[in-house]
Amino acid sequence: MSKLALKVTEIEALSPLVKRFRFEDPAGAPLPVFSGGAHITVEMPDGDTIRRNSYSLISDPHDGSGYEIAVRREDRGRGGSRYMHTRVNEGDAITVSSPANLFQLDLRARKHVLIAGGIGITPFLSQLRQLGIAQKPYELHYAARSRDEAAGLRLLPDAAHIHVHISDEGARMDLGAILDGQPLGTHVYTCGPEGLISAVADQAARLGWPKTAVHSEAFTAPPPGEPFEVVVKSSGRTVQVKADQSLLEALEAAQVEIDYSCRGGACGRCRTHVIACDGRILHNDHWLSEAERAEQKTIMPCMSRFKGARLELDL
């Protein structure tokens, strides 16, 4: 996977919990442009491991002068967001992947309805710009608990088709009202907590929307958990996975060759065959079906963990 060696040129607190970061090429060379909804993977070297988290790009997709992301500090996370908040400074070198997109707009849509919950606003920030450039009709609904939590507010244009719902102020989002009466050929996109995504999907189904017009991205960083170990078939080696490491990160640290893209359980690239499983796989991905999870014959190492006596992977 080819990498981009960039420089941190701006850090700004958008809210008490969310910071915006801007990266540029150190020599000012243009970066590859991208499509609305794309993400990059950021490398965070920490002692002997490299942690990698994927973040949606929030800057203008047609602007190659820099990439911007917004990171919410998750104190119960694996440490990636904390690293970004406490260890990264303006002027630092930072390595990121080229952009990839798992949450693209369906440009066939007559109209786009974007629904964001909390930090789930991030992929929409680049999509809004793409829709603006293309002059496509859209509306955005942004729900957050409080104004303090609504970090995206500062990055949103003040426009009639952008609606902010702050639940502390009693302005809860009414999905029925949002989706009902949209013109035929409208597509809806949701990013945020699982609950919001399923609520939108249910509402759309009740209103008879075709499934193909309902899109979502449940993008999460890998959760921490209890340490565990896995056996790698090709070498017979045992690899230890620390509490604050993902299985993918542990395998990488042990120089085991494994493919990835999103590192968030959404792209399917890291899918790995399980040879022996004496215990329970803690599936945290959005890729495997219920049946596949139950079988315990495959695991997505970027997100999932294990609890039990022995897990052997076909790597």
Binding site: P32, P61, S98, L107, T212
Partner: protein, 346 residues
């Protein structure tokens, strides 16, 4: 490097020819003495200097003549170029990719000056000097995909990704090996590959689709495909079968070396940045058996490959009627000696 462009035709009197240099750089598709349908994928661009793999979009001595042939085909049948409305952005992506690549790789032939969205494009071989506004279709005489693919050899398919599949939603197709954009536009990956024998059963397409969906904008790929064509004809479309199908019957032991062409498709795969669509250029190279046999390794190998080929594949690739004549002709070049691995001539 100054390139000479051939004055030649791909229909009627068929004056197409390969120079000695063009023969040596022909993308011979067989890296061993046998053939199996497989997903033989490599990174692209990248390859020996002078080979058709060196640059993103190869320009060779046939460039100008191929573009003239495309013009004739399009004048006859404008439906060979189609783009569903949501693919316009992908068209701009493709235009940018090709212009930037050609200007970088062939500075004597092409020039691109960009000042924001004000672009100035010079295509010397075709005598084009054009200023336009990037992303503004009113500043071009036609859509961006059509504009740039009238200046780029090979067919082009633009695939839209949705529902975990790829949809053929735009294309410029005038040199296809017997498939039709007009029949296939709007189809998904499995629908337009349906006719390939055995491949579906082998799971080849599931793997290929998975691979394509994972192509990112940082890395492009290529593979070679091949078939056989009688006469150096680019437009072997189903719509025009009545024009070229009967020519298959004109093959005799005396003329097979000159009239029977190995047709190689250099297929490349690109993730386009702004649209997230996939571009699938399919570049066609033609070389007759006589010219192939000037490279002893290729003569030997082609004989072995075609002699041992699965009859279903010969049928699918459309040369079953002439199979025997072809193999008999090639036998004279096969002295039984070993061949070196890889596709390049010795």
């Amino acid at each position: 490097m100054t390139m000479q462009f051939n004055d030649e035709t791909f229909r009627g009197d068929y004056t197409f020819r390969n120079s000695a240099a063009a023969i040596r750089r022909f993308p011979f598709p067989f890296d061993r003495d046998g053939y199996m349908y497989s997903v033989n994928i490599e990174q692209h661009p990248g390859g020996p200097a002078g080979s058709p793999f060196e640059f993103a979009f190869d320009v060779d001595e046939h460039y100008v003549a191929e573009m003239k042939d495309r013009e004739i085909t399009l004048a006859d049948d404008p439906m060979r170029c189609q783009s569903l409305p949501h693919m316009e952005l992908a068209g701009w992506d493709l235009l940018e990719l090709i212009m930037v690549s050609k200007a970088r790789d062939y500075p004597e032939l092409f020039k691109l000056n960009r000042d924001g969205n004000a672009w100035h494009w010079i295509n010397r071989p075709l005598g084009i000097d054009k200023t336009f506004t990037f992303l503004d279709p009113t500043t071009l005489p036609c859509g961006p995909m059509e504009y740039i693919t009238r200046q780029a050899q090979g067919d082009f398919a633009l695939l839209h990704e949705r529902e975990g599949n790829l949809w053929l939603d735009a294309g410029m197709v005038t040199s296809q090996a017997d498939w039709s954009l007009d029949f296939d536009v709007g189809m998904n990956f499995f629908e337009w590959h349906a006719p390939v024998p055995k491949a579906r059963k082998m799971g080849v397409f599931d793997k290929a689709l998975k691979f394509l969906l994972a192509v990112t904008q940082e890395q492009s790929y290529r593979r070679l495909n091949w078939t056989m064509t009688v006469n150096p004809r680019l437009d072997t479309s189903p719509e025009n079968y009545h024009k070229w199908g009967p020519e298959k019957r004109s093959i005799t032991p005396a003329n097979v070396g000159a009239k029977q062409f190995l047709r190689v498709e250099l297929q490349t795969f690109w993730r386009l940045p702004r649209s997230n669509a996939l571009a699938f250029p399919i570049r066609c190279y033609l070389c007759n058996l006589e010219d192939i046999a000037t490279q002893p390794k290729w003569g030997r190998r082609l004989h072995r490959v075609l002699r041992d080929i699965d009859p279903d594949l010969a049928e699918y690739k459309g040369f079953a009627v002439n199979h025997e004549v072809i193999v008999d002709y090639l036998a004279q070049f096969d002295d039984g000696a070993e061949t070196s691995p890889g596709i390049f001539p010795d």
